[in-house]
Amino acid sequence: MKKLNLMKALLASSALIMASESVMAQDFGNFDGVTIEAKLIGGEQYEALYARIADWEALTGATVNIISKKSHFEIDKEIKSDMAAGTTSWCVGSNHSSFAPQYEGLYVDLNGLVPADVIADFVPGNIAASTVNGELLMLPRAQFDVSVLYYLKSNYEDAAQAEAFEAEYGYPLAVPDTWDQVRDQAIFFADPPNFYGTQYAGKDEAIVGRFYEMVVAEGGNYLDEDNRPIFNSDAGQRALQWFVDLYEAGAVPAGTTSYVWDDLGQGFASGTVALNLDWPGWAGFFNDPESSKAAGNVGVAIQPMGSVTRTGWAGHHGFSVTNDCENQDAAVSLVMFLTSEESQLAESAGGSLPTRTAVWEANVAAAREGDDPFRAESLAAFAAGAEYSFAVPAIPEWGESTNLVFPELQAAIVGDKTVEEALNDAAEAVDELMRESGYY
């Protein structure tokens, strides 16, 4: 643990030195006496960045008043209530690429307010996912999310187990490279209720996102170009069947349909799950002996592929400036500071993934040269996995559509409906939503 902390500190400090030149050169302006009200996503992994706000206050003379700090889902509800009540004069808000399209008219287009060369320093895909109808609604922070496969290494070091697997499935036991192999191995490793082959998010947007990436991996898509639902295709049915097979075989915990991210993270950290597709923020947690029974036994590999391709449902956090903000210049300055190269280096030293090209390169190089093979392995896996990432459709109805789809996916998983019935019912409901919204 100490070694890990030391490594992080070294990485952060070396990265900070590298970035100091650019920071010195960047002028965040002078906003003496200005107070910026902010609504930020809260949580342990996000706090390190907020500690840097004091530096921006010292640089600019302005003050930041954090008027709300909640989980993203809670902040989302609060922002929607603010929009309804017209109380949107606060200035800076945490945002997410999946949520951004919903807040119609709330946030300012940053294209005219942030210099083009600053925008060009971000990963182009992240900027594209932050842009809705041509408007850049947020600047991405170092919280890029794409999932890769975490696994328990010990399962691949047992010769007798490998022999038994090969005898049963006809191919050698190795870290899975396809989703079919994940299914085989998950069923093979499972020994419920003590040990499970894998697990998946089972409700809300979480399961729909996971289903979505499997549909794409099978060669299908969620919506077509006119935003008509097409996830009830053959590809969609193959994708959902994968979830159903694992549930029926008892390879996943029976309660998986009520699990979301924390349950999954804690489950893998308990050392009772063999394979786990999960986000970058968990890497440090999984390999920390103080928080995880799996520490020292965790391997990280690129996400497996479907019958057509690898895919990764991806998203990222960011910061936006409201249209009603009185001091937009100061607010934009704060957003630029929180997403600057220096801030991203500091935040990604904690294990999260950056959204700036230079920070990606610096982190990968530092990990390669460092003496923490786990960090190097996980960063390499995430760098490779990010190449297959895609963002959800940039339409306000994405979130609402997931609320229509997830109960149907659950119905197929728990056996209330067949895969085909469930997907057809879900597609019908989404089709009605899209018609009502005027897409066709």
Binding site: K77, K80, S81, M83, A84, G86, Q102, Y103, E104, P192, P193, G202, K203, D204, P253, A254, G255, T257, S258, G267, S270, T272, P396, G399, E400, N403, F406, P407, E408, Q410, A411, I413, V414, D416, K417
Partner: protein, 297 residues
């Protein structure tokens, strides 16, 4: 010219009228109006688009809404009856205790002092299929399976009902106990002298006397249970596959997550019918019970 003055009673009541209008009447009218619009929280301008009864028509043909409506009635019926039986039993036993009754009464009220959200988290953990208390106890007693308490449709409804009953049975117990305290001793003693069995005394004297108290408790709890939300939301969120969806989990998702407040308000107004029907039913029963005791008027 004679200056007209407002009547004194009106002036005195005016502050109360203004407060009630501000906190009850205006929001009620506003929400009723919005149920005739496609109002979305994220598009405030939609509040001014009149769509007539479109939201209501949509709800009337929505199988998901009526399934949730039916499930809420079933939930209400089972929870109220079990709470009544348990509450009555507890109150009768408490009434027999002569030493330490006050302490026991205080302990009895503990579950009511917890926030429903905390009760939800507590039972979510207790019934968790993997690390939950119940499955661990079952496994230590020899069971080799993990019961999916919060996943299986019947088990999940049972778990939620268990949490709701655990938290609120004491409402019945306390109100019935108050009835027992207020009950005159003479009829019971006369029955004893006449040779009535304990069951006959209970059936023909105690129970009729307690009925008004029971119906008051039923009315209060029916309104409470009909808007059950916190515990359900925390324990299952209405899932999986809508197996535990009740009216308020459906409405809150529609209104706050999907931001379709116009539709959610229309659901709310239809759901109010449920509460009104239960209230009318229990008040009629209450009046009949009072009439039986010669207390009408």
């Amino acid at each position: 010219m004679i200056r007209r003055r407002l009547p004194q009673w009106f002036v005195l009541l005016l502050p109360a009228f203004i407060v009630i209008a501000a906190v009850v009447l205006i929001p009620l009218i506003f929400s009723l109006y919005s149920s005739f619009t496609p109002y979305k929280l994220t598009r405030p301008s939609t509040l001014w688009t009149w769509v007539g009864t479109s939201n209501y028509e949509k709800i009337l043909t929505d199988a998901k809404f009526w399934t949730a409506f039916g499930r809420t009635i079933l939930f209400l019926t089972i929870v109220l009856n079990v709470e009544l039986l348990l509450g009555l039993g507890i109150a009768l036993m408490m009434n027999k205790i002569t030493w330490g009754q006050r302490t026991l009464r205080t302990i009895l009220m503990f579950p009511m002092m917890f926030s429903p959200i905390l009760v939800g988290f507590q039972f979510k953990f207790i019934f968790n299929d993997n690390v939950g208390l119940v499955n661990n106890v079952l496994q230590s007693l020899g069971s080799d399976s993990a019961l999916p308490w919060l996943v299986d449709g019947k088990l999940a409804m049972f778990s939620i009902m268990f949490a709701e009953i655990w938290m609120s049975t004491s409402v019945f117990a306390i109100l019935i106990l108050a009835g027992l305290f207020a009950m005159p001793r003479d009829p019971l003693e006369a029955a004893k002298v006449d040779g009535c069995t304990p069951w006959q005394s209970f059936r023909h004297i105690t129970l009729p006397f307690l009925m008004p108290f029971i119906f008051i408790a039923m009315t209060i709890r029916s309104l409470d249970v009909a808007r059950a939300y916190d515990i359900v939301q925390i324990m299952t969120g209405g899932g999986p596959a809508r197996r535990t969806e009740l009216l308020w989990t459906l409405m809150s998702r529609t209104g706050y997550v999907d931001a379709r407040m116009g539709l959610a308000n229309a659901m709310g107004y239809i759901s109010i019918i449920l509460s009104i029907l239960f209230t009318i039913y229990f008040f009629r029963k209450l009046s009949a019970a009072r009439a039986d005791l010669g207390m009408e008027g």
